[in-house]
Symmetry: C2
Subunit: 336 residues, 2 copies
């Protein structure tokens, strides 16, 4: 069986939105594992806002993807060959597979997945990094107390939708900010958010004043930009802003933006704090166990939006993410 491993590699660092020149589609023979390695056939790839940061040539919490390298991505798939006792062909795993059909991995870099718990793609979303990020970001950085008003931006996204639901389970009043009436309805009608604000309808500060009359105790930010400034303008005393992401800025090419209402932190004795989920690696199990229980109990709703087309469709899937086209976790189906 001679197969080809189709890949997407970084061809050039984009200014602004990644265009066709950003990527190069390549094909290689499928590699074979050496001792301690496994070969994984990738079935799903996680499409994440953070990917935009990984292709900038700037130091960050991970090194930039090098020019010519296979694009970094989390994936879920099936072990097809193993030279390590921990895995056998047929085992399902998640790992940083990259945007390719087959990934050769050190066995210790793969996380086994129990297929009876949830569909495979969910282990990239609510039971993967997205859910874990929501869990630690909200609980450890936001530290919501029962009765708090919690506002989540990017609330219909992979992380925001889980963060908001966890806040509800802490006894908080939860307001989601999302793009479009349909997403907002999903938040209130399906996920149990107390209110949802469609940022495309404008007047975000006024809507926050209406839905959070006593101010915002916790703001979980995935977007930055004018939505962050609106939240800053409506902080309650001793508010906590959880900096999880800033998707509105990731493709910006103009003069760099900063939150001009930042001195609201001073007036309100509030804090804005960033975090990286990797720092909680030793506690991932705790988060996944809790999230799986909430999902099984129907207390948290997980949703994945699966796009087809294989690795060749990766560039378009990433653009769809930045257009806000997804509701829930966006994943790319690589092979069935």
């Amino acid at each position: 069986m001679i197969e080809s491993n189709h890949q997407v590699r970084l061809a050039a660092r984009p200014a602004g939105i990644p265009g066709p020149d950003t990527w190069r589609h390549t094909s290689e023979p499928v590699p074979e594992p050496d001792a301690g390695q496994i070969l994984v056939e990738v079935r799903y790839l996680s499409i994440d806002p953070a990917m935009r940061g990984w292709i900038n040539d700037r130091p960050s919490y991970v090194p930039p993807v090098g020019l010519g390298e296979v694009m970094r991505a989390a994936g879920a798939g099936c072990v097809v060959a193993s030279k390590d006792d921990r895995f056998a062909p047929g085992d399902l795993v998640t790992a940083m597979t990259g945007v390719q059909e087959f990934a050769l991995l050190a066995a210790e870099a793969a996380i086994p997945v129990d297929p009876t718990v949830a569909p495979l793609e969910r282990h990239l979303g609510a039971l993967g990094m997205s859910g874990i990020t929501a869990y630690f970001g909200l609980l450890e950085i936001g530290r919501p107390k029962s009765g708090d008003t919690v506002v989540v931006s990017g609330a219909a996204g992979a992380v925001g939708s889980i963060a908001g639901q966890i806040a509800r389970l802490q006894g908080c009043r939860v307001i989601g900010i999302a793009g479009g009436a349909e997403k907002c309805r999903w938040l209130t009608d399906q996920l149990g958010f107390d209110a949802a604000i469609d940022y495309r309808a404008g007047a975000i500060v006024d809507r926050l004043a209406e839905h959070a009359p006593d101010g915002i105790d916790v703001y979980f930010d995935n977007v930055g930009g004018e939505i962050l400034d609106a939240a800053l303008a409506r902080l309650a005393r001793r508010a906590r802003i959880v900096l999880c992401g800033g998707i509105s800025q990731y493709n910006a090419t103009g003069p760099s933006w900063g939150p001009s209402n930042y001195l609201s932190l001073l007036i309100n004795r509030a804090r804005m704090e960033g975090f990286i989920v990797f720092d909680y690696a030793a506690r991932y199990g705790e988060a996944v166990t809790q999230l799986a229980r909430w999902i099984a109990d129907g207390r948290v709703i997980a949703r994945e939006q699966v796009v087809d087309g294989g690795v060749a469709a990766f560039p378009e899937a990433l653009l769809e993410l930045f257009r806000g086209g997804n509701t829930g976790k966006l994943v790319l189906r690589v092979r069935d």
Copy 2:
């Protein structure tokens, strides 16, 4: 004895730098205390960056000064008449006296001053709100640990000069940012700062990289603007930014500025947190006792810059503050 009480009142809310139209100079008969009141002859007035915020018509941590009202100010002076058992003529006090020569106050609003501890004007600076602000802001919000690198902006000012010296006493390496070579020399040669950066000489990020090669653990910000952005660019992991003030923005009239490097908080798992010294009112005594001891031991150097001219000179004194003309605490001498 018929005396006149000269006052400075808010005549109009300024856009940008307060000009002559901002103020009205008035004169009234000196009032007499009723039961529970004292009359204080004001000797020194504290000139503070926060004054600029008090004359905006925006809700903040204190109500705006009303149009036509005597300008709010902290003052130090001598009780000249008392209808309260707690004070007798000749007692020295600090209080929110306002910009006037005589202040009629509720006795409970005045804080007795021991003239043997320090010169009267110091009770508006290192032993007053400036020192107390430095003490709680640095220790409670910045939480420096021995060996940390601490950067202070506005380092030659009333709060910054004390904050930096307290950081030194915690075993930190301390870098001050100030305007001009003379102030920088004062920081390193007199106050024991490990390094000083003259922001007027430019290239702040490069100088921070040079003096804080392992990054900044605590940044105590009095200024905002490009200096805050430079500090954000050089944060160490889990850094704490203490938002004490933003003097560079207080007179801004252009498009509002925000720290465009704020996502450095995310990458570095860092936090930016504001505080208001009033929240520590129950612990002011602790701070003043400790500061007085350090000053007596010669471990903290306090400096006041006294300008003359009485209340009529208040508008010019405030402008001098915003020009960065002062080293140490700027106070206006009202009456000797």
